[in-house]
């Protein structure tokens, strides 16, 4: 039902590297899962996009900064895998040329 090629595309979209072995077992597992959830296609439904759980409404709050303590900022920055001063360091994205 799903090919290895399709699976590769999904993995690129999801930013996950897959080994050849992963792909083989995932194709099999996808077949069994999709075979199960495909039964839903039999249900008569009217498709309308406004899904809501119970009577929950969105509650908003003013967009104001509440916490500016140095200590909390340090805490957040310290969790970064690579920190340079007050910045989180990542690899260069643009080429020099």
């Amino acid at each position: 039902m799903i090919t290895e090629k399709e699976l590769e595309r999904l993995a690129i979209l999801a930013r996950i590297k897959l080994s050849e072995g992963d792909k083989k077992s995932l194709v099999k597992e996808f077949d069994s899962i999709l075979g199960y959830i495909d039964q839903l296609k039999k249900v008569e439904v009217s498709l309308d996009a406004s899904a809501r759980v119970g009577s929950v409404k969105n509650v908003t709050r003013p967009d104001v900064v509440e916490n500016t303590s140095r200590e909390d900022r340090e805490r957040l920055l310290n969790e970064a895998p690579d920190r340079q001063g007050d910045f989180i360091a990542v690899k260069k994205i643009l080429n020099n040329t």
Binding site: I2, L7, L10, A11, L13, A14, R15, I16, K17, L18, D22, L26, E29, F30, S32, I33, Y36, I37, Q39, L40, K41, V43, V45, S46, L47, D48, A49, A51, V53, G54, S55, V56, N58, V59, T60, R61, D72, R75, L76, N78, E79, A80, P81, D82, I88, V90, K91, K92, I93
Partner: protein
């Protein structure tokens, strides 16, 4: 006095603490000793906090203060508890049992943690779980399976398996879990304890790692329905940091039964061969007990309920794939080196995530991708609304709905590990409460005999939105709690 952990409940412990029969420090020490003794076999806790005794000392001061000033004090003051590893406690590791967050320290307190701390509860440690709460057995933990205290060859259930096992092994008086499709109720059922999934929006989700944002709720696992109620009352309520909270008047209260709630049973859904006959036997005995206690039991129809699990396994992975996009190795957690910036993501996520998590992210990516969106995600949302409608209609003639919590008692470690659909079928009775946002509780209702061992069976009760009180009332009555 000597502390007997086996028979202790929050209610009893709180009375003893207030009377001064023992101190919170002594109580915490007793739990520490019990955990040291049992955790190496059961693996309910991933970490035991070394500052629990400090918190207990503070609780003792609070209790002494209240005694002096004759003020009321929270029943949770000095009560030791476990916290699922996906709920943030400032400064502590919160790994969601994943390698990608193995060394991540929470930078703030979840709202539930703030509330419990304000009540004087003592955090003993963080409990094991399926990675990012994905699974029904705790076998998907990156740090080893949690074993069932009733039979070490079997799973404790999941994903909050560590929390349920911690309470069942007398390693805590209660524990927090999270429930996206049954992750509080199913392990509670497997371990013979009580577990509550509150109404969607009743408890703030701020500070619990998001899995399926339209499904997730935090809730208590405890020994009794009364204890679950005490914890629920402490953690529920308004929080501006969760935009989906309900208010006291969001849902109107209603009651059909004059004396006791009327309980509906969807017999048509229990007729299949996927349900263990010992579970069905225990369930039928529970129905008889309700009748004997004077409850009116009514047969009801939930016409679309057989689609619930399929709907769940579309919506949940869709939300998972979006929520777990944040784990990219940039801001926090694991980073693995690739050949360039974008390759860092691919490497980090391959190494950091376990098999089930990767499976669900890819499945979610699939059902949301162009060309499949209408066939899967939109259709699932439409059927989700139909199922919710079925339940609301049923609640026009009943006050609660009874079902087994899980189709089987605790299964053997490894038994379902190679077949994802068999594992997913574990959630067949529990996912509806998450899809509909309704509150549901699992309470122990007997045992299944299996190769000479007695394994607990759980009964699930579902009530109207915002009506946890019917669940507690009925649960307490069923369990004979005063």
């Amino acid at each position: 006095m000597k502390i007997d952990l086996k028979s202790l409940t929050i209610k009893k412990a709180s009375d003893h603490l207030k009377k001064g029969d023992f101190s919170a420090v002594e109580l915490t020490q007793a739990y520490h000793d019990e955990i040291t003794k049992k955790n190496k076999d059961i693996n309910a806790y991933l970490e035991v906090f070394d500052d629990a005794l400090d918190a207990a000392k503070q609780a003792d001061e609070k209790i002494a203060d209240a005694r002096k000033t004759r003020k009321e004090i929270s029943p949770l003051a000095g009560i030791p508890c476990g916290v699922k590893d996906n709920i943030l406690i400032k400064g502590k590791i919160a790994s969601a049992a994943s390698k990608i967050l193995e060394n991540y320290h929470a930078t703030y307190d979840a709202t539930v943690i703030k509330k419990l701390a304000a009540n004087g509860a003592v955090f003993l440690g963080r409990t094991n779980m399926d990675e990012f709460a994905m699974g029904g057995s705790t076998e998907n933990s990156a740090f080893g399976v949690t074993k069932n205290p009733y039979d070490l060859g079997r799973v404790a259930g999941g994903s909050s398996g560590g929390s349920a096992a911690a309470v069942a092994m007398d390693g805590a008086l209660f524990a927090l879990g999270s429930d996206t499709g049954g992750s509080i109720r199913q392990p509670a059922s497997f371990c013979g304890v009580v577990g509550l999934k509150p109404t969607y929006g009743a408890v703030s989700r701020y500070g619990v790692m998001a899995m399926g944002s339209s499904l997730d709720q935090i809730g208590p696992i405890a020994k009794t329905a009364s204890d679950a109620e005490i914890v629920f009352n402490a953690i529920k309520g308004n929080d501006l940091k969760d935009g989906t909270m309900i208010k006291d008047n969001t849902y109107t209260k209603k009651r059909i039964g004059k004396n006791k709630p009327v309980i509906g049973v969807p017999r048509h859904f229990l007729a299949g061969d996927g349900i263990d006959h010992e579970v069905l036997k225990a369930f039928n005995e529970a129905v008889d007990l309700f009748k004997a206690k004077g409850y009116e039991m009514k047969e009801i129809k939930l016409p679309n309920i057989s689609y619930a699990l399929m709907v769940y396994y579309i919506i949940m992975p869709a939300e998972v794939s979006s929520n777990l996009a944040r784990f990219d190795g940039v801001k926090y957690g694991l980073r693995k080196n690739g050949k360039d910036g974008i390759d860092d993501y691919f490497e980090t996520r391959r190494v950091g995530f376990g098999r089930e998590v990767i499976r669900r992210i890819l499945l979610g990516t699939y059902v949301l991708s162009s060309g499949y969106y209408d066939a899967y995600y939109n259709r699932a949302n439409a059927v989700r609304r139909m199922i919710t409608g079925d339940f609301l209609k049923a609640f026009e003639s009943v006050d609660a709905i009874a079902m087994p919590t899980a189709p089987s008692p605790a299964f053997k470690i490894g038994e379902k590990a190679s077949d994802p659909v068999a594992m997913y079928l574990e959630d067949i009775f529990t996912v509806t409460a998450n899809l509909t946002g309704l509150p549901a509780i699992s309470i122990p209702c007997g045992f299944a005999e299996n190769s000479g061992k007695k394994l607990p069976v759980g009964l699930q009760l579902t009530a109207r939105h915002g009506d946890e009180s019917t669940l507690f009332e009925t649960g307490k009555d069923f369990l004979g709690e005063s």
